[in-house]
Symmetry: C2
Subunit: 116 residues, 2 copies
DNA sequence: TTTCATTGCTATGAATATTGTAGCAGTCAC
DNA sequence: GTGACTGCTACAATATTCATAGCAATGAAA
């Protein structure tokens, strides 16, 4: 699978705009979940990560890891897989999403909702 | 396709944790891009939206719209499709990602990068 | 009342991504 | 060597996405 890189046209966007590249990268199965999990729970092995990510298939995990490593968001050392500094920056920006999601979830309980 | 809703197990997560539900919803092709585009460029018709989203297929656009409407992030009125109040909240949290992505993109130019 | 353009959207088949299961090769402690 | 771990790969089934064509409804103009 093509790995998205800023400046180059990606799946679904000819512009190469960094935000669209990022959306392409993160808009793949478990991409954000992996960054989230590694950040919240610390470094872990391939199989540990697989378990924490709801036992996603090794195929997909491996693909996702390759993409996230290419994007310098995740790396690998003796402690296992872990987020990089940049990965942690990204995580920090996802935290507000986590808080917001709780409220969103509450409101959405009383489905279907009128809104605007 | 199953539409993610907070509190219920979703594709890839049995926990039903709101953040995982959100990741499931947003981790689909063009989901974040649609919220971004509608927020930045204002309401537009189905076909306009399609064009702005790099001519993604109507099938996928329609599916994504249904999911985002079910999640109360997007709705539809006489002006066309647009983000809801909650959708705008989400967008505002994505804005920092856009800024960060620019830096990330710059650094990543000199691929492959050492980091941590 | 018959065009005509525009609307949202569906049908279809091919291409691509993801899943689930099994298992391999390397490393390390014993 | 043996066993228990490691990171992965192979393979076939399923799910998702794409690209193209086109339909039914609406509203404006002729």
């Amino acid at each position: 699978m093509k790995i998205p890189a800023p400046g180059k046209p990606v799946r679904g966007s000819q512009s190469g705009a960094p935000i669209m590249v990022l959306f392409d990268l993160l808009g793949r199965r478990w991409a954000m979940g992996i960054v989230w999990t590694l950040s919240e729970q610390g470094p872990c092995t391939f199989r540990e990560l697989q378990e924490k990510c709801d036992n996603l298939s090794p195929t997909t995990l491996n693909t996702r890891i390759a993409e996230l490593r290419a994007a310098c968001l995740v790396d690998h050392d003796t402690t296992g897989y872990r987020v990089t500094l940049r990965g942690r920056e990204l995580y920090k920006m996802l935290v507000p999403l986590g808080l917001w999601a709780k409220e969103w979830g509450k409101d959405l309980q009383g489905f279907p909702g009128a809104q605007t």
